[in-house]
């Protein structure tokens, strides 16, 4: 069972991971927009699929955070 102090550290690590994924998604949007304006539509669908996959990972990490938070709220005094 985690203490709230440990949870802060865990949340920081998970937020960092989510942040890195968001930056990759931001890069994907910029690259896709550039490809669209340059007339290279072949890369647009793979970029969208990759972005969706990264969203799924982020969703999974958020579920992890919510479960951890709920567990911490139910936890008795330590």
């Amino acid at each position: 069972m985690e203490t709230r102090h440990q949870a802060v550290t865990l949340f920081t690590a998970l937020s960092l991971l989510i942040g890195i994924i968001v930056i990759i998604q931001l890069w994907l949007v910029a690259a896709a927009l550039d490809a669209l304006l340059s007339g290279q539509p072949s890369v647009l669908v793979p970029a969208a699929i990759a972005s969706m996959f990264l969203l799924l990972i982020n969703g999974g990490l958020l579920v992890l955070i919510i479960r951890l938070d709920n567990r911490l709220r139910r936890q008795p005094n330590q």
Binding site: R4, V8, L36, L37, S38, G39, P41, L54
Partner: protein, 177 residues
Amino acid sequence: MPAKHPDPVIASNESRTRNVPRWEEDFPIQMEGDHYVTRREFAKFLTLGSALLAAANAVIAFVGLRQSKQQFAPRLIPRASSMPQGGSTLFRYPTDQDPCILVRSANGDLLAYSQVCTHLSCAVVHQPDQNQLFCPCHRGSFSESEGRPIAGPPTRRLPRIKLEQRGDDVYAVGIEV
């Protein structure tokens, strides 16, 4: 009433044993509890941003697929066949809001491009003596033969207009981005 523990983390945990409502936990007094809530909310906010970026990528893919399948009606370019070598004329294609430029190169080829500079959308002009299309706003240049950027800030080529000769008339029939 029992005394509050001096350690804020333990004090924060102790507060949960006293049937504290959920909303009260989200507005903690202790710094440690505040960090906890801030990081949790930040993670939720980042995931929302992630969803928006994924949606933006999907929209870009949809627009790209739609654009690649789009067909435009042919449009006659007036006085195109009588244009001398090194000459140029302006026309609109595929709509009246899309300015284009038709040039006749030194070897007699007819070439047409969008007149909108790919840098910041100024109108490009033909410079037959240098075989290039020149953007006067930021001194960008595109090659006359392919429309590729050769100097200045533009990084993308000019969209090329496909031409079709029908008798003495020249028609714009499509766009090659």
